[in-house]
Symmetry: C3
Amino acid sequence: MSRARRRLEEMDLTLPSPPAPAGAYRRAVEAAGLVFVAGQLPLVDGRMILQGVVGDGGLPVEEGREAARQCALNALGVLAAEGYDLDRTRIVRMTGYVASVDGFEGQAQVVDGASELMADVLGESGVHARVAVGVGSLPLGAPVELEVIATGER
Amino acid sequence: MSRARRRLEEMDLTLPSPPAPAGAYRRAVEAAGLVFVAGQLPLVDGRMILQGVVGDGGLPVEEGREAARQCALNALGVLAAEGYDLDRTRIVRMTGYVASVDGFEGQAQVVDGASELMADVLGESGVHARVAVGVGSLPLGAPVELEVIATGER
Amino acid sequence: MSRARRRLEEMDLTLPSPPAPAGAYRRAVEAAGLVFVAGQLPLVDGRMILQGVVGDGGLPVEEGREAARQCALNALGVLAAEGYDLDRTRIVRMTGYVASVDGFEGQAQVVDGASELMADVLGESGVHARVAVGVGSLPLGAPVELEVIATGER
């Protein structure tokens, strides 16, 4: 068993089968040595685990982190389903879009939920450059959307 | 005539001359085998075809789709003007930013307008990984802005 | 002394020591010939030089431009601290996220503050493809966040 899959098992996590794209696009495209993964939402079995905006009067940061973590797990699910060996996958850059109430300033803590999952599962190869921003709304009412650029081998 | 240009003609579309950058930057830069196209707005002859935010009380989804489609056409116009052969161009990743009213959840349908145009014009090479997010406002009041990463040959 | 550092001196600017990442990630990652710099905020010595949203009733465009300029300077600080020779660094693509009041349309002018700094310091190699969008809120209340993709040699 691969290191990454053993690690997921220890963490009691199952690699999800990637949800179908929510539109006219692919779940991942490789070009010029980089793998671009389509934006991931916190879906489990096709259903959003959380909906809403994060911040005062909305979802607490902790729930945002959980959503971000699920997005990261879904991105790993896409990479595995596309045939990439997770033990030879490196996460290069992630952008976390956090649906935020006006004035919310904690996007970095929310997106840490995704960043920490990547490091927990992939070790050093999971540590990436990152961008965290707050947006007004996301597809299907998701509190977080995650964009991942990786390198990998099939 | 190239396949892509024949296809545009069949669709009754004209490849636009790219609008000048709206600031101190280039319309496209190639590096490490990827072409990064500057953010495209739904401009035709220097004028925005639609302005406003998409969702209840704002623009209907169908108009957002039309704006997204124009952004995609403008991105193809940039690639052609930069000397790329559209028949050897591949769309790798697109990010669609949709100016959205609070609570709007249909960003994927809006950005499909851009994704479908790319597939219609370029075939398989037009199908890409994608990110769709909702934002509060965009330059010049645009309802959609589209960022494209491609590969191509001149 | 390098051309870039001489230019910074002439402009009376000091290359900042990069602030620590605000979460579980790296300040820059190189892969497939591209350097992805983590999202930069307008921090000086760990403190935000400006906070708030840009537009009517918020910060004036000129202050947004100043914040954008600081983000760009911080990105150069990261590249230098990571060992890249600024004279052989090329800025490929930048995305400027501007925290905006509803209906603000001047994101391009704000992000020009960052674009112009890059061109002033790096010359032709500082001119890039660009995306400017408006968002509701950013980490730590920043008015601008800047994402940079570059090429470089150490």
